[in-house]
């Protein structure tokens, strides 16, 4: 399952290296990573999309917390969140095809940002699935160049992922009994 993990980190040289090194070392796979500044000076926000079971993501979170430069980590996957990604797509386009493609642009609420006699550059900001669908619709025309930013996400409502907020004790999130088999009686020692 895909998880969207947000890490608030100290804006210091090397911090991206630390995070990347941790993922490499522990064999966690990053689908996408977006880094940018936040409302707070000195704090950067990393939005990491990764694929893995819940247990793996729990380890990722805890390993991230061990980095001194990581101030806060939260998994937005199970939260109500606005998740967006931006893409710039340069698609092959003759003047005759332009209308057709611009119809697609309308349907997906994308924008045309540059035009040439043989191509059109489109910009779209949307949830990942919408973006995927838009790209699939453009493929038949021929995509010449494309870039995606990777996901960014913010939870809905007033609650914020920010460093000043008190977080719940990590211990409370740990699960019970997961993965352990029920007791059997076939033990060499039974006291009753």
């Amino acid at each position: 399952m895909k998880h969207t993990v947000v890490a608030l980190v100290e804006d210091r040289p090397g911090v991206l290296n630390r995070v990347a090194s941790l993922f490499r070392r522990r064999g966690f796979n990053i689908d996408s990573l977006a880094v940018g500044t936040t409302e707070q000076r000195g704090i950067s926000r990393m939005t990491i999309v990764l694929d893995g079971a819940d247990g793996i993501v729990e380890q990722v979170e805890k390993q991230l917390y061990k980095l001194i430069d990581v101030v806060k980590v939260s998994d937005l996957t199970k939260e109500e969140a606005v998740i967006r990604e931006l893409a710039l797509i340069k698609v092959r386009c003759s003047p005759e095809q332009r209308r057709e493609i611009l119809d697609l642009v309308d349907i997906f609420r994308a924008q045309a940002v540059d035009v040439s006699p043989t191509s059109l550059m489109l910009q779209i900001t949307a949830a990942t699935e919408t973006l995927d669908a838009f790209i699939e619709n453009l493929r038949p025309y021929g995509i010449r160049e494309m870039v995606r930013t990777g996901r960014i996400a913010v939870t809905r409502g007033a609650r914020a992922t920010a460093v000043h907020e008190r977080e719940a004790a990590p211990a409370e999130r740990f699960h019970e009994q997961a993965g352990r088999r029920p007791e059997e009686d076939a033990l060499p020692y039974v006291s009753k």
């Binding site: 805890k62 211990a171 409370e172 006291s191």
Partner: protein, 580 residues
């Protein structure tokens, strides 16, 4: 406030941190620091013979006392020589500070002479690291680094300092307090979790404690004993947990794991509730994870939340310092006793004692030598070991009964740790006898530090268990690779002559009857001593949990190894001298 050079700030900071000794090795970029050293005589500089030795000495120093150990190296090769020592300290959570110089700021990143990207190299093997680019940041960085190294889950911190930062001047401003927003170790256990753990422990019929290095690092041996006594719970130790309880205590059942005892491994495998304390569920202690007592409920108390559910799922994980959580738990549990359970383990111990005992007879064995040294030196001595068979035998037979008594490389398994770690321990504990139980292989990796011992008058007693083999590798080749010995036999120098070359006392022991005299002679001598014990060449460490097997598959003989690996037993006993 006073303006001073970066070099003075570094030394002043070390003083403020209470650092009284640095194991160091000079070179071009740290010369500005050395130049200022004579003005700071409170910080003793010990010139080692190799940076790895300096690093392990800092590690041994820290483990012997619990205080911060500090090592220093120059840029490039000096810094890369520290890497093994840093990793070793990381794997065993040892509070250490590693300082390196680097090329001047304007040369960083230009591949100049002796530039190594050492902060890039150490990033995955430290708790935290810094490249300090301004002298005004030095004091705070040192305060922060020491705070990080010595609190929470302890570990190595590395500070890299470009040459001109040592030279440039800045105001010296020592922070009154360190706060790091991304670093807030939890020390008290969550009360709700403690309550759940207590209920589980109260309901247990066959509870067991796994006591790890955390008990020693956290200074919680007393807390462990009180908890175990109130609940009547037997205690097993991981290798690094040895010393957290006196082996003479009625509830102490010794070491578990790959070369733990049969009864310990079976007690671990048959418990209904496991209480894991300050240990990180390592494969060498637990065997194959999936089959490590899969029906037991597990209470796992560790200061590092990432250790919970990393290798083994915990039923009740508690994040916190064992020193604080154990009293909480002791308060919450009911008094209990588990007589039948203890009797069951006792019976196993009686029945299987022979697979973990000193061989009878007059052969000169490592096992025998270890018992004799332990007895003569007593529990107040410090013992370091290398890695291999001798390490396991030292752990099995040296009666480790107090915290900080045994200093051994558990996590990284670093051969060559023994001699420099002993040197560091002797610096830390000038009034204690320090013995190092060395492998003939490991000794030859780092014995250059004898010269440092001579210079610094460190009377370390070195006992080489000279079996002419990389013994542990030979054991695996014999038992698992069917006697296919490849590159394990080694010729040795004349160790006594080597001792003499360094101007220290050397003693050769070839027969069991000479052992006690040699030990007494070493104790009587006030300088370093090296004893070459020509021990039995092909003894094996028993019992054994072959890599990949589970604790319940602990084997006690070569035939059992064959059976476990699905091979027919050998027709003829192959080698004479092997403990078959």
């Amino acid at each position: 406030m006073t303006k001073m050079s970066g070099a003075d700030i570094v030394l002043e900071s070390l003083k403020r941190l209470g650092v009284d000794v640095v194991f160091g090795y000079p070179g071009g970029v740290v010369l500005p620091l050395y130049d200022r050293w004579p003005s700071h005589p409170e910080v003793r500089h010990i010139l080692v013979r190799h940076e790895q030795g300096g690093g392990h000495a800092a590690d041994g120093y820290a483990r012997a006392t619990g205080k911060l150990g500090v090592a220093l190296a120059t840029s490039g090769p000096g810094a890369t020589n520290l890497v093994t020592a840093i990793t070793n300290a990381m794997m065993d959570s040892v509070p250490t500070l590693f300082i390196t110089g680097n090329v001047a700021r304007n040369l960083l990143g230009r591949d100049g002479f002796q530039e190594a990207d050492i902060t890039g190299i150490t990033m995955p093997i430290v708790k935290h690291n810094y490249l300090v680019m301004r002298p005004e940041d030095l004091a705070y960085t040192f305060a922060e680094a020491a705070h990080i190294a010595t609190t929470g889950r302890k570990g190595p911190v590395h500070i890299d300092i470009p040459k001109d930062v040592f030279i440039e001047e800045a105001e010296f401003e020592w922070p009154s307090e360190v706060t790091i927003r991304g670093y807030r170790p939890v020390s008290r256990g969550n009360p709700a979790q403690v309550k759940r753990a207590a209920a589980m422990i109260d309901a247990a019929e066959r509870s067991i404690i796994f006591a790890g290095h955390g008990i020693i690092l956290g200074g919680a041996a007393e807390e462990l004993r009180s908890f175990a006594e109130k609940t009547g719970t037997p205690i097993l130790n991981t290798l690094l947990g040895l010393g957290s309880i006196d082996p003479g205590h009625v509830l102490a059942y010794g070491m578990m794991g790959m070369h733990g005892s049969y009864w310990a491994n079976h007690a671990a495998s048959n418990a209904d509730v496991i209480i894991a304390l300050g240990m990180r569920m390592d494969d060498r202690a637990l065997g194959r994870f999936e089959d490590m007592n899969p029906t037991a409920k597990i209470v796992h108390i560790d200061i590092d939340p990432a250790e919970h559910n990393k290798n083994i799922m915990a039923t009740v994980p508690i994040v916190g310092d064992v020193k604080e959580v154990l009293p909480q738990l002791t308060e919450a549990v009911q008094s209990n006793s588990h007589v039948e359970w203890l009797r069951w383990i006792d019976r196993l111990r009686v029945d299987h004692k022979s697979s973990m005992s000193v061989p009878d007879g007059t052969a000169l064995t490592t096992q025998y030598v270890c018992t004799r040294i332990a007895e003569a030196a007593g529990p107040e001595a410090v013992i370091t070991t290398g890695v291999g068979q001798h390490q396991m035998w030292a752990a099995q037979f040296m009666n480790i009964s107090r915290p900080h008594q045994l200093i051994t490389s558990g996590g990284l398994g670093t051969m060559g740790f023994e001699v420099p770690a002993a040197m560091g321990a002797q610096v830390a504990c000038p009034d204690r006898t320090v013995w190092t139980i060395c492998g003939d292989g490991g000794f030859q990796m780092t014995f250059q530090e004898i010269a440092t011992m001579v210079d610094e008058r460190l009377p370390v007693k070195m006992a080489i268990m000279n079996n002419g083999y990389l013994g542990m590798v030979r054991q695996w080749q014999e038992l698992i690779y069917q006697d296919n010995y490849v590159s394990v036999a080694m010729s040795q120098p004349d160790f006594v002559k080597l001792a003499e070359a360094y101007g220290i006392k050397g003693i050769l022991v070839t027969d069991q009857s000479q052992v006690d005299d040699a030990i007494a002679e070493a104790h009587a001598h006030d300088g370093p001593v090296l004893i070459d014990f020509r021990v039995e060449a092909e003894g094996n460490v028993w019992p054994m949990v072959p890599a990949g097997a589970s604790l319940s598959e602990t084997v006690e003989s070569p035939d059992e190894v064959d059976a476990l690996l699905g091979r027919p037993p050998k027709a003829v006993p192959t080698r004479t001298g092997a403990a078959r």
